[in-house]
Chain length 228, copies 2
Amino acid sequence: MKLFELSGADEDIRFSPFVIRIKMALKHKEIDFHAVPIKFTDKSPIEPSGSKTVPVIEDNGKWVKESWDIACYLEKQYQKAPSLFGGDIGTAQTKFINAWSDAVLVRGLFPIIVSDIIPHFTDEDRAYFIPLREKLLGMTIAETIGIRDKIIPQFNSSLTPLRVMLKSQNFICGDTPGYADYSVFGPFQWARIASPLKLIKEGDPIYDWQERMLGLFDGFARSAKLGY
Amino acid sequence: MKLFELSGADEDIRFSPFVIRIKMALKHKEIDFHAVPIKFTDKSPIEPSGSKTVPVIEDNGKWVKESWDIACYLEKQYQKAPSLFGGDIGTAQTKFINAWSDAVLVRGLFPIIVSDIIPHFTDEDRAYFIPLREKLLGMTIAETIGIRDKIIPQFNSSLTPLRVMLKSQNFICGDTPGYADYSVFGPFQWARIASPLKLIKEGDPIYDWQERMLGLFDGFARSAKLGY
């Protein structure tokens, strides 16, 4: 099993939120994998997949792209390992939580951490990344720093559903984690690796959940190299 | 099975979003029930439950309060009927979606529709309701009308996770609805009954999902009396 993922100029700095979801899912499924770093400006290693984005996996010659489709593939292909979704209703509901993670976490965190992400790139990746992302943001990267004070509280308040729910259960999936947890953890770990900002404070139920997530699989996510 | 719920001065106008969740859950579990209207200012009928809010059920002499606890009670007590949650992971994930529905839908819709809700009450209920809610809102009911144009687009954009997910499946729970659907439907039906505003437009995947929800159980929710 090969997993292709984005890295910084330092190949040990690997921070795609979508890839982190799949790394956690592979650990959950107890699958050994080899993680292959690629760059924004050299996607030739993933050409056989037909994808221009990571994650991509190559499993025994079979290529699968898109994090959601990879999770579904792993669930189906590795049925004897612990379930990621917990049946049909669980799968459908995970898709909602995955969409929440994309819309609220990935999109909410991006303008907050983007200025901290950029220093990690190679010069070529930076030249590629900045104009595209500034267009998407509708502002310069420098301007994002100026709006942080305004948008961090908004981001924090958008976490209410997660915070409320984690007061009465350890994981989004209950007593033990599942793909919904990995889907939500991806963006938080992305921010943790790429930015020195401490967005979630001690005493917040989300902080305690993040600590539990970092401890899973013998501290797998905790051992990721941090950018700061 | 008795279900206690809030009504307007017209006892056929019944719009608690939390009660609507349980009505749908009772239909899902194929349980016949008798719905008993109460008023904000006369909660004596639900005194035995120890609750000051609806929904409350009395099932064969047993009283249960709080919509989430009632749903869990129904799931456990009526195991032969179709499942509301789909197992342990499904239950845990539904709790997240229920918290999302509370934080984003109930709280998001309240300032938008509150001025339309008030005319439905009895004079006594209005006198009780208005000061408490104005304190909660931090503004007068009249002032909420002035901010509608600003907050309706914000509300609509907070629906992105639901909208994205409904592009690829019919219900939040997959091919058929479950409690997560009822939990999210409650606030939409509350707005539909209490306000003439058309917040969700035709062509939106959420509109189509709402139509499917209204058609369930022989058009049960569609037959609810509307306030406008």
